[in-house]
Point group: C2
Chain length 455, copies 2
């Protein structure tokens, strides 16, 4: 038995005291957000009506490499962090691979995912600004759950617009949010102008993430003392999620291991961006080399099949324009079961890094992902979220390549969460009735053709 333990835990005082802002080390900064009306670059102040001021400032901060984590956020982090970096001894054995596999497990908290890392930060700044509450949207429900936990902790009101189909099909997620005191409204609802309009135009619609975003933004801007918060895509979110990567790096350093390859699933990019940030930082500063792989679903392949252009962040087209890899804001991802990876675009930071070759990308099919999830669950004892299982699939593939070549690569991947609320999907897989959805080139070209023509 190697001397490296199964779980590499940092001590509580080794939780990072500052988030790392990878933009500070990027030579080519992510392109600025543009006002959707005028096409002009936005300033932090332009975001104040929507986001908390400190979060708006973080969103625009391309220069400070480190931003202190507030003490109250650190205290909350201590309830569920440091998260373990796990050496996947049992998976290695099952694969009979010379590779060493590690995963950073972010699922050991009631939100079941890494989302809590940013939720608590965003709730803190809202509280600090003296707000009454926040509004947000949620698809699968992970972000809404994380936010309701964070707002309960700080005594803030929390209004969640949940995509109607999820609201109905995932009543348990909804109940967790309610238990934490949040108000959960199925979207599109009749409580906002945009919701009423969508309901009128598309009677009986199941809703979509883009539509729920538009409702949550309207709810925030039409109530005194409320702001809108978002769980992915934004620079501020990647900043908060850097705690994942910083802990991963510290744990690897602790046992004297250098990662060769870092793998993460990519939807909006928050988990991937957080996981890779300190490693990419070293690459950007010319200190080290890593192979970084973003894994996306074949059904929603923004990096591998999208275009790097300015696009709307939401379907309702009320949010700013961002330059990102996108499939077009009208792209309707097929109903695959990784709800957290069904976003048409990608973080501007990840998009820029991908464009410059720091990050590679690949896409995987849903049934292959669930096969990997099941294999992992049986030997590593954790039932993974469908999103996280995209990373598992590629980590297993890479470990099997090592078996062929005989290389003992150090493969690190992000296990962002657990699949306890995704059993409908597992049931479909167990019953052999799960489909693979892959959009045609025509589908993608059509939705991309509706992107605004900028730059």
């Amino acid at each position: 038995m190697s001397e490296i333990p199964y779980k590499i835990y940092l001590s509580e005082n080794e939780i990072p005291s500052a988030w790392y802002n990878v933009r500070a080390d990027m030579k080519n900064k992510p392109a600025p957000l543009l006002n959707p009306g005028t096409g002009e670059p936005l300033k932090a102040e332009d975001l104040y009506p929507f986001f908390c001021e400190e979060l708006s400032n973080q969103e625009m901060n391309n220069t400070d490499a480190y931003i202190d984590i507030p003490g109250e956020v650190l205290d909350f982090y201590k309830m569920y962090r440091p998260s373990p970096l796990v050496r996947a001894y049992c998976l290695e054995k099952a694969l009979d691979t010379p590779a060493h596999i590690y995963y950073k497990f972010e699922g050991n908290n009631t939100s079941g995912s890494h989302k809590l890392n940013s939720a608590i930060a965003q709730a803190y700044y809202a509280k600090k600004q003296g707000l009454k509450g926040v509004t947000t949207e949620t698809g699968a429900g992970q972000w809404g759950t994380a936010l309701s936990m964070a707002t309960a902790y700080f005594g803030l009101d929390c209004q969640v617009y949940m995509v109607k189909v999820s609201y109905e099909q995932k009543p348990f997620r909804r109940e967790v949010m309610r238990t934490y005191g949040a108000t959960v409204t199925p979207s599109p609802s009749m409580t906002t102008n945009v919701g009423r309009k969508i309901n009128e135009e598309f009677p009986g619609t199941d809703g979509s993430l883009g539509c729920a975003i538009s409702e949550a933004v309207e709810a925030a801007t039409s109530q005194e003392g409320y702001r809108y918060v978002l769980g992915s895509v934004l620079n501020q979110v990647l900043l908060h999620q850097s705690v994942i990567g910083l802990e991963t790096k510290a744990a690897l350093d602790k046992v004297g291991v250098k990662a060769d390859m870092i793998i993460g699933c990519a939807g909006g990019g928050s988990n991937l961006g957080g996981l890779i940030s300190p490693f990419v930082g070293e690459m950007l500063r010319g200190e080290n080399q890593y192979e970084i792989i973003a894994v996306e679903p074949a059904s929603c392949p923004s990096l591998t099949r999208g275009s790097f252009v300015y696009d709307f962040c939401d379907t309702g087209r009320v949010c700013p324009l961002a330059k990102m890899y996108t499939l077009g804001s009208n792209f309707m991802p097929a109903p695959n079961h990784a709800g957290g990876l069904r976003y048409h675009g990608m973080s501007t930071i990840i998009s820029q890094l991908y464009d410059e070759g720091y990050v590679k990308a690949t896409s995987v099919k849903q049934t292959d992902v669930f096969a990997a999830a099941e294999q992992f669950a049986r030997v590593e004892g954790i039932l993974p979220a469908p999103e996280s299982s995209h990373a598992i699939k590629v980590a297993i593939d890479e470990a099997l390549k090592c078996k062929e070549t005989g290389e003992a690569k150090n493969i690190v991947f992000g296990l962002t969460g657990t699949g306890y609320f995704d059993l409908v999907a597992y049931q479909k897989y167990n019953d052999g009735v799960m489909d693979d959805y892959i959009p045609t080139d025509e589908d993608i070209a059509k939705s991309l053709s509706q992107c605004p023509k900028i730059g």
Copy 2:
């Protein structure tokens, strides 16, 4: 801020290498199991047709204080142990109590509870004996999930008889078991004689735990290479669960804290017995004093309102007789939501300790339990299982007593699991439609009158 961290983690090499067998230190041993046909005390060999040989021997072992944990079980433990002992700073603050509250959290594994501690041991001995597989019953599904994880790890077949009403109402638990390769059959089924008989007698019955036990036992004894395994009540299970108490004691010692009070929920007694064993051991040896409180639901109050007599362990009356606090094997607990606490009897070890005053007991009402669960979830960030929340309720009550008296007691309780699969219950609580069920004296007297007349 105190120097005690939020989470007191032991290192991997501080996981106990031996289970502690509290019976060795008991002056008055638990009364022996009796053959239900002859009324004669059973020997280990008498159990071999039902249980693995080593487990049968452990069941009867009243003398060895320590039994080595096999290396392969220890390796598995390392995937999810040591579990954290958490200082509940946020709960203390919310209660404004001088008490120091600690909880041992056993929910950070996919089975969602402490059940895995014994499941992996039982699967190991089955594998070692060269068996093909094991059978068991499950009510709420925690034990079935834990066992399916353990058998998947050792490549054993796993046949789970799941109480029909749970099978239908908890499809997600069922899918987790299937994902781990288990066969899950709703009970009563048409696959066993006893199942067919019950279906004939009670057409359309929802099933019960006692009935599922009878089916699982028949399935084990009628198939070559199979044995029956059980997740609670048995001495062997309390032995394996001692890992909880040993780690708790070690963690407290590490930070120099002496517990004043130890609180655990009590259904069959496995978690409570495991948690308290090293502490009770000190009491039995006259080395230390602790106040130990077993918490049971008011709807199924075996310790507080049952009798200490010989009774059947199952409804079908095929299992041995055990001397225990019981409500009568025909007692039908009201449909409260703590499925793990709906057993008519109690571990013979706990029963004996309770009878001699080493353990106290109290019962709590369901709605009070969920109020405590919600309060805990909001400040400590963990959504607790309904079972575990019984302990939370009493820990909060005791902490509030300390507030009145000004005492800074060290209160330790067992947080056995998470409530991710209990959201139907939370929904009822959130909607204000949860009832409290309390059996009448007449109900209890009636079922107790059917106990066999022995001793």
